[in-house]
């Protein structure tokens, strides 16, 4: 290989690589480091570690107090558990809503499919915050949903949805729907429909053909969609903060409050480290799936 080509090829890799190392990977180590320090009333509000001279000095300064604190106060582990449960339930609900939509889109006449696709992507481009905010006006006790149902005579008392977990489920399903629809749609769209015809020709009922042919072939899309919803939903902050009540425990919100209200940087770092540990397995699975898709596309 000639030197010019060598240099350009190295630059193509090195520049983004270095950027991500500095701004994505290194910060995690800093988070980890600070999670081992102690809180102090100063700026930045923690006692630095690793400023002693000898190795032993450094190790003596490390403190696992923050992690001990996370296990002692039930607030934290309850928040972790409830985040994972809420995210899992929301992921299933999103799948149930998204699959028929994606299936309907894939079956649509090919002339309108690009338009439908654009309409699914469009909300993704509009602000997450605004879309969550839009639901406050709908779900409030005096909001539009209650008004509508009362005027239809279906209920007599205003609904108490806002500030409950139901509101969070609605918020997550709504906000993350495009992330579920898109991968399922692209899996279904690629599928050769003559496979279903072949199954029916060989004696399958339409329902049987769906479960034996269509659904298994759309499974990669379903799995990708579930990861794309579940992982960020576990650490979600905006939705529980705006739609959930004071009783709602979600770890993203806990981290935010720890950081902005209590100004306890070491504890919020410890919260982040544990959250990351919880998410490492699904993230690695997600990346493997991505790498496989990338490999298959080559």
């Amino acid at each position: 290989m000639n030197p010019l080509k060598w240099v350009t090829s190295r630059l193509v890799i090195l520049v983004p690589y270095a950027w991500l190392l500095i701004f994505f990977l290194v910060p995690f180590f800093i988070v980890f480091k600070i999670s081992l320090s102690t809180t102090a009333i100063q700026m930045p509000p923690y006692d630095p570690v690793f400023d002693g001279t000898g190795t032993w000095e450094k190790i003596k300064q490390l403190s696992f107090d923050n992690y001990v604190w996370l296990t002692e106060d039930p607030l934290y582990y309850r928040a972790y558990i409830s985040s994972v449960i809420i995210a899992a339930v929301s992921t299933v609900l999103t799948l149930l809503v998204a699959y028929p939509v994606a299936y309907g889109m894939a079956r649509a006449p090919s002339s309108i499919r690009p338009t439908l696709l654009m309409l699914v992507i469009l909300p993704f481009w509009t602000s997450f915050l605004i879309r969550v905010y839009a639901w406050i006006g709908i779900l409030k006790p005096e909001g539009l949903l209650s008004q509508l149902l009362i005027s239809l005579g279906l209920i007599s008392e205003p609904l108490q949805i806002l500030n409950t977990n139901t509101a969070i489920f609605i918020g997550i399903v709504y906000s993350y729907l495009p992330f579920m629809v898109l991968p399922i749609y692209s899996a279904l769209e690629k599928m050769d429909y003559s496979l279903v015809e072949a199954a029916e020709d060989l004696g399958c009922t339409p329902t049987g053909a769906f479960w034996k042919v269509t659904f298994p072939l759309s499974l990669p899309g379903v799995i990708a969609g579930c990861f794309l919803v579940f992982i960020p939903a576990v650490g979600e902050f905006v939705i529980p903060d705006l739609l959930g009540g004071s009783a709602t425990l979600m770890i993203g919100k806990t981290l935010w409050n720890e950081f902005f209200s209590n100004r306890d940087w070491p504890v919020s770092s410890a919260v982040a480290v544990v959250l990351l540990l919880i998410l490492v397995i699904p993230i690695v699975f997600f990346q493997n799936a991505q790498a496989k898709a990338e490999e298959a596309g080559r």
Partner: protein, 273 residues
């Protein structure tokens, strides 16, 4: 897939799309509400838009947001395109696994973690928080989205185009600028647009990494939402939605038209010997 569009299919699409769009539609409608209550219709009015433009705090935040978005999207597009090329062209290099991990992880990483970790980095290196820290943070997040968009285009890119250019005497750098980049440009442009809107919309990462004097529009909206729902927020949201939707719709109409024209050209071309 090519088959009949059953009633059930139509119904699911209609219901799904209503679910996606009704809340936004309601939000837009109530931004024109004369009443201060966002849930009771009190007649048509544009007064909230008027009061918006005299709200210096919101206007300042909007200006910061647009500057951050323009700058971060541009840097992210360069870095993201390089990252996509690295992933697509170099299948073997030391640390490729780590690299692709770092490209895909931010896509799903909870924003609170990314925001906190970037903040702690800026504090650790003694970087004053403000316009630049938000910009750097947004570059880091959005370059990964650009990389994914460009990478998915590169997968279908015919590598023999590059070989043909080199065969005809273009150097590798010349090949990139004369052939590769022009051909993948639509993907690069949509990567830029995605990066721009992600930066425009971001609340969590901006909240962590921003400092005094660099309040972005989502941060401003959030602090007002916490105080209560007002038609003014509906108005500013409507403007943001309209701004982005117009951009996206125009871009997709242009793409669609080009595609239709292209198909027509191809049909005509095939008709001749």
């Amino acid at each position: 897939m090519n088959t009949t569009w059953s009633r059930f299919n139509i119904l699911s699409v209609v219901v799904g799309f209503s679910f996606l769009y009704l809340p936004i539609l309601i939000l837009i409608i109530f931004s024109f509400n004369a009443s201060k209550l966002v849930t009771v219709w009190g007649g048509f009015s544009t007064k909230w838009y008027v009061s918006l433009f005299s709200n210096q705090g919101i206007m300042d935040a909007a200006w910061v947001t647009i500057r951050v978005a323009l700058l971060s999207a541009s840097i992210a597009t360069v870095l993201g395109t390089l990252a996509a090329l690295a992933l697509n062209r170099y299948t073997r290099f030391n640390g490729r696994m780590l690299f692709s991990g770092m490209v895909y992880a931010p896509l799903v990483m909870p924003e609170v973690i990314t925001g906190l970790s970037l903040l702690l980095l800026f504090v650790a290196i003694g970087f004053d928080r403000g316009f630049w820290t938000v910009t750097l943070a947004h570059v880091t997040l959005t370059m990964c989205f650009v990389a994914v968009v460009v990478q998915s285009r590169l997968v279908t890119y015919d590598r023999s185009l590059d070989e043909a250019a080199m065969d005809l005497g273009a150097t590798p750098v010349g090949t990139f600028f004369q052939v590769t980049l022009p051909v993948i440009l639509p993907a690069v442009v949509s990567g830029w647009m995605l990066a721009f809107t992600l930066s425009l919309d971001d609340l969590v990462i901006a909240s962590f990494t921003s400092g005094p004097g660099a309040t972005t529009l989502p941060m401003k909206i959030y602090s007002q939402v916490r105080l209560g729902v007002t038609p003014e927020i509906n108005a500013v949201s409507t403007i943001m939605i309209a701004f982005i939707a117009t951009g996206v719709v125009i871009a997709s109409i242009i793409t669609k038209r080009q595609e239709v024209q292209r198909k027509r050209d191809e049909r005509m071309a095939m008709a001749q010997p």
